[in-house]
Symmetry: C2
Subunit: 395 residues, 2 copies
């Protein structure tokens, strides 16, 4: 022992450097703004207002009744859930994945954390497309790496990714590119060509593509958004994040999955053991029911979301104070701005008190999106319309 005496003021001074800067001002903390405001319509969260359907809750309850309260020996997930996921992904995307390329995770967030921890360390960086759900940026910091956001451009009302700009942001220490599609917050959706361009770059430079497809089922046309997995070869440097939260109204269940190359399965298995030691069996029973019997639920949620988007465009479209981009083709949000406002945050605060409507300010999703707001449409269209009427009246 050679280190000299130390008298830290607080324990915080002995926490790993970059972690003490982690922002805790985020979407979750917005709700505090609504304290004491009556009759709030909270459209700031990424969560709908539907309780998980009874057949999913019943499946979990039946598992509890059956005494499924032990460790699941297969920490990567129950074999029956794996089999159902294999069928589901084959049916949805025409791809054969299987258990060796799939790991069940206790939340999609944990899937992100595992994927990033596997490829990033201090000194590395990760490039991601903005606007982006803030947890991605913070998860990169937790992994010790530098987050580099590359903004989408709004071209004639349409969000466009300039891949030259994306690739130029990469350097010798870039280990991953992260893309969400359909994206949260602005419903940017990758097509097959974009995925192929990313793959070509990945193959050339040995950079991982982490494809967040949590909103894949929430598309307004067709059964699912295109998947990176449809383009990638099995050993391409691709990991795909998914979860049950959005399409089956299971936000509070904390279950997701990670698709990965088979060669990294032993590492993902080990990470699963040493990070969380698996997902509760009765929660997996609920997820299994969702996959097997849940298509009407997905359809219902998708319809709600589409109707919610229509309501926003109908009501806000009448206001000359609101600048709407092209109508989103997927996702769970409308991302728009107020004419002449450089910073939407004060407007958001005012809308809480003056209109009783909660919107998420755009700066949370990337500094260059400060003029924007995110509005979650996963509620009844009448409620969304009412919220928008209030916004228009308050402006």
């Amino acid at each position: 022992m050679k280190r000299s005496l130390l008298s830290p003021d607080s324990a915080l001074s002995r926490v790993r450097g970059n972690l003490t800067d982690l922002e805790t001002e985020n979407i979750a903390s917005l709700a505090a703004r609504a304290h004491g405001v009556p009759d709030m319509i909270p459209l700031w969260y990424g969560e709908g207002d539907i309780v998980t359907p009874a057949f999913i809750r019943d499946a979990a309850k039946a598992a509890l009744d059956d005494g499924e309260t032990f460790y699941v020996p297969q920490m990567e997930g129950r074999p029956d859930l794996h089999a159902a996921l294999t069928t589901y992904q084959a049916d949805l995307h025409g791809i054969e994945l299987g258990p060796e390329r799939t790991t069940i995770t206790p939340s999609g967030m944990q899937a992100v954390h595992i994927a990033l921890t596997m490829v990033l360390q201090a000194g590395d960086n990760a490039v991601y497309v903005e606007p982006q759900w803030p947890n991605i940026r913070h998860a990169i910091c937790v992994a010790g790496a530098e987050p580099r956001g590359v903004p989408l451009d709004l071209v004639e009302g349409k969000w466009v990714l300039d891949t030259d700009k994306l690739f130029d942001a990469c350097d010798a220490r870039t280990r991953a590119i992260i893309l969400s599609s359909p994206s949260n917050p602005n419903a940017f959706m990758a097509d097959a060509q974009l995925y192929r361009d990313l793959l070509e770059f990945s193959r050339r430079h040995g950079i991982w593509i982490i494809s967040d497809e949590v909103y894949a089922r929430l598309v307004h046309e067709g059964r699912a958004a295109p998947s990176m997995l449809q383009q990638a070869d099995p050993e391409d440097l691709v990991m795909c994040i998914n979860g049950f939260s959005k399409a089956w109204a299971m936000t509070g269940w904390r279950i997701g999955w990670l698709n990965h190359p088979a060669s990294v399965a032993p590492t993902v298995r080990a990470m699963t053991q040493y990070l969380n030691s698996g997902t509760a069996s009765f929660i997996q029973a609920g997820a299994l029911a969702a996959l097997v019997q849940g298509e009407p639920t997905v359809e219902m949620i998708r319809t709600r979301v589409r109707d919610g988007v229509d309501a926003v465009y109908e009501v806000l479209g009448r206001s000359n104070r609101v600048v709407l981009p092209e109508k989103p083709q997927g996702g769970m949000y409308v991302f728009f701005r107020f004419d002449g406002e450089e910073d939407a945050d004060p407007v958001c605060r005012r809308l809480v008190t003056d209109a009783g409507v909660g919107l998420a300010p755009g700066a949370l999703f990337g500094e260059s999106f400060r003029p924007y707001v995110r509005l979650c449409v996963a509620r009844p269209a009448e409620q969304i319309a009412a919220a928008c009427e209030r916004i228009v009246a308050a402006l």
Copy 2:
């Protein structure tokens, strides 16, 4: 982009270096040895044979019925569970902790991971007491640091920690000392003096003490093992791991908690959000029931474990091939060796096929414990006695 062309053989070649070495041969994989063996008595896991009591399962089911399927706004844990934990820890240890020093985690394992990630990075090391549950060593590697095991000594049948040896293993890059008490596998139990010695060292050198107290309730005398929290000041560099798995038969629920200084609460909150975004509300409802109504359950499990230990000592004590240390005063295991055997692994394999008994070989818990085996006693005493009779017969 300046990096040259790369043609990796597989995606694994692009995973963070030290993670590809993570061992997946561990306790969880021992079960494969039993494949096809009839009438096995599996004493290799750290898990009993009791289904979670009905009142705990009923609380989770009631929460599901009540529609508690949304995100919990307080990601650090439900306020009612926090309040119950505060009361519980005050009652058990005579300490006032409270929500600012407590974070609910989706598994005790995740609490370990969060604690280690907060204090370790590449180039650091963490010193831990051996024999030790293998996940601790691997969790240190996941955090990018070097694990340094310091073995306990067996002195006249009693496990003893030489603190000079422990402190000598620390250097300028040591960020944490990890101690489990009562320990898995050998029931080593820290007393107040040891905790005070560790604290003094921690204060002098700015090294965190991570105290794994998951087995705190499984003591054969008194209500709980001494806790590091009883000795530490609020801002001491102490984090304490705990969980619901062992004392309430909730291994499969994946819920635990982390006690930490209040000053690091914002970092732990942020980590919670960016690693897992909280623990399912209905699982927390089960944990709440366990705390409030679970003392008879704890007493029952404690009695079972003590009776199991007695059964082992009665039966194996008659064999001159078995070397038993002093009877453990806590924990869930007996850790012993076979006379004249340098490596217990082949003996363990033989006992699977010849005796139908599953024991965990000692090398999993530290290289210097290769002659030892771990036997889990969380089963009916008759079954433990029968297993021991088979072992004696097979030797």
